[in-house]
Symmetry: C2
Amino acid sequence: MKKTGLLFLLLASLTAVAQNEDAAFIKRISDEVFNNGKAYDNLRELTKNIGGRLAGSPQMYKAEAWGQATLKKSGADKVWLQECMVPHWVRGGKDVAVANYKGGKKPLDVLALGNSMGSGPKGVQAEVLKVNSFDDLEAKKDQVKGKIVFYNYKFINSNVNTFESYGDAGKYRGAGPSRAAKYGAVGVVVRSMSHSVDNNPHTGATRYDTAYAKIPAVAVGLRDADWLNDLTDKETVKLNMVTNGKFFPDTPGHNVIGELTGSEFPDQYITIGGHLDSWDPAEGAHDDGAGIVQTIEILRAFKALGYTPKHTIRFVLFANEENGLRGGTKYGEEAVAKKEKHVFALESDAGGFTPRGFGLEMNDEQIAKVKKWQPLLEPYGAGRLEKGGDGADIGPVADALKFPSAGLNPDSQRYFDYHHARNDVLENVNKRELELGAVAMAALVYLVDKYGL
Amino acid sequence: MKKTGLLFLLLASLTAVAQNEDAAFIKRISDEVFNNGKAYDNLRELTKNIGGRLAGSPQMYKAEAWGQATLKKSGADKVWLQECMVPHWVRGGKDVAVANYKGGKKPLDVLALGNSMGSGPKGVQAEVLKVNSFDDLEAKKDQVKGKIVFYNYKFINSNVNTFESYGDAGKYRGAGPSRAAKYGAVGVVVRSMSHSVDNNPHTGATRYDTAYAKIPAVAVGLRDADWLNDLTDKETVKLNMVTNGKFFPDTPGHNVIGELTGSEFPDQYITIGGHLDSWDPAEGAHDDGAGIVQTIEILRAFKALGYTPKHTIRFVLFANEENGLRGGTKYGEEAVAKKEKHVFALESDAGGFTPRGFGLEMNDEQIAKVKKWQPLLEPYGAGRLEKGGDGADIGPVADALKFPSAGLNPDSQRYFDYHHARNDVLENVNKRELELGAVAMAALVYLVDKYGL
């Protein structure tokens, strides 16, 4: 009994010493990032010099070149491009939707959904049929033919975690056009997936069911959605809609990869990443410029501190998350083909907001291990460690090779104010919040690299 | 043994039932605030219709009238004004500081410090003496006479809790002018207490030591501070400074108080509050419009849910926190004079950002009790419960009557981007973050009202 007690005390004090050492090193990371950080300057370059960078666009190539140069400058031992064919959708012009009603005409603030097909230059003119849900659509299916269906499904305000509301409402953007086309609709207007106080429309990918006509589809700003909702309760409203979306043939895009070679396990990989592409209406500052510059900042900070990881760390700027996931898919395929050994992957793709914690896509034993590090993460605001939720880009490789992965969970209150909208710009990213996210990520990577999972 | 075990189980299950009931009620508060909240609309009225509302200004009186009306509209059983004499300082005109140097002239972005005395219309013209700290000032004290002292003390970036950096740097604004005047300085320029990426100067109160001349003093924006820092390393720089601050005689101001009468202990008080005054350069949206509208929102939500508290709850919009604390002082004095029994006070005066937790100004036993509620607060982002830190306005009453108090701790990363600067406007407050803060506060008040401390 006494012996066990001593052993316990010894182990406990060793653990305490280790935690003190780790706390001290993480504080050094934090000081380095807050005092000498380049994440915000890098984000300025990416957003202001390049801007929106949808797969296949000229800006995609600019962003790839910038990513290569910035990874090199930040100290990567090796930088390369991993090619993958990406879709090449273009908006093709200004999206227009004008409501015609008794009182006159009103242009609505709209954006064509990503991957949606244009109406043709003459546009579509039809009466609006408002539905509040898919159930409502089914109930009114006999009235759909020849109409423009207006999905007025409201983003749930009362979820504290706003991603739950996005998960709930997202189906109207993804499946709404084809479900309306099935009953003969000629166009679709979707209430934006947001709870913002402004009228900016929020785009994002839709997925046509090839069994039905690929009808034009737009997202509408919330204030205009409210207006249209009120008006359609009172009278018949017609809409003139012109969109110009189209696909060019797939084109080569690239994951941009930087590596810091491991000292003990150079052939075992830890991946950190975000996605380099972004929707066209804005600068993709939160989505996912933030994840990109945080990824690069961890590399820069490790190098500045002279930290050599045990495992090889890959800093990956993934291609084409938004409308194809081709970058993440390719990364997974190549890892499988090369029989790579991956030990961990971490993604930041939920905005550059103040960190709250991490989503842990791993088994309970591994989660328990991460939770022991909670006191080391909490000082940086990232102590909330929850099961589930890593990131779209690292999903394919982690699923294929069955290794633990995680996603940074920033505070979610503001994300859907900016997500896929024209105000996702540098000015709406806070330098310190962005940096604190990078610190939290670096801390977790440091701990996994040192102790394994 | 068995009996104790059963009793323990019984108590544990009763606790579990109570926690479930509490969790359910707090979720109802949250739903009410997110779905029907008026905090943001109220903040729009306060910021856009009234604006900056420094003690003694016409806007102070407008804000008091608005506060009375809004507390009534939100369901207070009783609303009244508690008079207190407040200082009446005015900026008196545009603050100017123009640097004269070899390369030419450069107007700096400055704001006179609150409570500082104007230079007179001719202003002061003098050479700049840069000091990086008070130690540096002491070392250079023989060079101070006739100069304008530039305090270039830098806000510490590496504190995760930015209030620590403010606590550290604040003395240069508060005591800097008189410490320079002691050695014969004719003016002072203070580097703004901020880590922002912009050049907005941040004002705030200074305190003259009456033993020395009341020399003019301004805060300068960070980019201009950097410029002046670089230039003074290279050459002699002169500054022409004109400020116009002055005091009018003290004038009557008011705490605006709304009450919800307690059902069991009507003569025992819980106070919730923020301060109604704000500096003049902006709208006082975060400081402390947020605290004001959160306070009112808790009243509105309790009424909307039909919740009758056991104790009488006072919703207090305090007067004159910024340059006198006369409102909080008066509230404390009157509570003492009337021998009121107060059980708890809660303040929000750290911005309308997403909540992190509460600072608990109470004894360890009471802190332990609050920590048992952590699982009820954490879902609303407010699970970090720390010893110390309530709020300036509730300090006098809590200190005098020795009862427990607390302050909402929102995430602090962005606060000093806006604090006392011209960008502390509605547009920089996020509706959901503001609401979530109100939910967290309401939850804590509900628990204290129900269980005591």
